[in-house]
Amino acid sequence: MKKSEPMSESYYYILLCLAKGANHGYGIMQMTEKLSRGDVTIGSGTMYGATSNMMKKGWIKEIMSTEGAERRRLYQLTDTGRKALRAEINRLRRMLENAEEV
């Protein structure tokens, strides 16, 4: 198996926020702040770049919400994206376990 590159904090939290279902940019931002208790924020420039790159990688895809009158862009995790997230979680877990061994 190819060793996966460590993910940037923003990539990791965006994927994490999408694990339970599609969300829009602002929702991801708020959920990230809540999850990390304010430690991690995702600015708009970072958000645009990260979502663009992850769409190119095929980790997330864009869907249009049909709820309500306003059409909004939602981001959805793909199977590849879920695999990438799982790999990253395992990598982090291994690192944590190593720390505990020392």
Partner: protein, 301 residues
């Protein structure tokens, strides 16, 4: 009441874009709101009732609608983009919010990606100027003259400043402030102008002409001495095109003030292009001797 506008012609170096952002914020506090940001000039409208905080972005945007939406969700309003790919954004200022609420790049990776685009561009340009400096250095060595030396000097400075800029940009950290260096920018543009000017001077000072001679029949040998004179104002390598068609061998020469031959060619059928001859400063003439019908065409630049 008609809206009051003002223009600013202040320029900023790309690696110092955060200085521009700070100046925009300050102007907004003073009541001047950005209408259109530009590389060479920006336009502002007077409105003292409102305060904005600005940001600049150099990301490649594949989907403008999505870009605007993501920024709008966090209270940002898209202002405009410049021809060279910088985007201006503004957000209403709320004194209750911390400074971090006005950052758009919140991790090092995404900031690197943004600045990296400019760094690559500047590095390529810097290396290109460096290559031109090396080429120019060879020309200065083979034929030294002042305008060419100035050109070499400007290429070295331009290359150095671009690579320095790329280096500074690459090391930018999120939220980092840099001191303004308009002097550097001034030097860079001065070098571009001086380089272009010395190039124009060099071009203007070169002898640039062509001449034709012909005779269908020749009854006695002709020796034509200095039928064309030209001045070389600075030593350099010059390029000669020469075409000779003659029934009997024709001798063509370039002679200097002391009547010394600096170039000679003899033949009945010659067609040479871009013959490189190195000529010191001075006055020169063409000489030919022929004893048959001929056709001769030559140009030098």
């Amino acid at each position: 009441m008609a809206a009051e506008y003002k223009r600013s012609f202040r320029m900023y170096s790309a690696w110092n874009y955060m200085q521009e952002v700070e100046d925009l914020n300050k102007l907004s506090d003073e009541g001047w709101q950005l209408v259109r940001g530009g590389c060479f000039h920006s336009k502002f409208v007077k409105n003292p009732d409102i305060r904005y905080r600005y940001q600049m972005d150099y990301q490649k945007i594949d989907d403008m609608a999505r870009y605007i939406e993501i920024f709008r969700e966090q209270g940002w309003e898209y202002v405009n983009s410049t021809f060279n790919g910088w985007h201006y954004l503004k957000k209403l200022y709320d004194p209750a919010l911390p400074d971090e609420a006005y950052e758009i790049f919140t991790d090092r990776e995404s900031l690197r990606e943004m600045t990296g685009r400019w760094t690559r561009f500047a590095t390529i340009l810097g290396v290109l100027f460096g290559i031109m400096a090396i080429i120019e250095a060879f020309r200065v060595i083979t034929a030294p003259n002042i305008p060419r030396f100035i050109q070499l000097f400007t290429f070295i400075i331009e290359s150095g400043l671009l690579l320095r800029g790329a280096f500074i940009m690459r090391r930018t950290e999120p939220g980092q402030k840099l001191r303004h260096d308009s002097l550097i920018l001034g030097i860079f543009f001065a070098c571009i102008l001086i380089g272009a000017a010395s190039n124009i001077i060099l071009d203007d000072m070169r002898p640039n002409f062509n001449t034709q001679q012909q005779a269908d029949e020749v009854f006695e040998p002709i020796i034509e001495n200095r039928w064309v004179d030209f001045d070389v104002k600075y030593p350099d390598n010059y390029y000669l095109d020469l075409m000779i068609k003659a029934d009997e061998p024709l001798t063509f020469e370039i002679v200097n003030e002391a009547d010394e031959v600096v170039y000679t060619e003899t033949g009945t059928d010659v067609d040479k292009k871009d013959i490189r001859i190195k000529l010191p400063r001075g006055s020169y003439g063409f000489r030919m001797s022929v004893n048959s019908g001929f056709e001769l065409e030559c140009s030098i630049d």
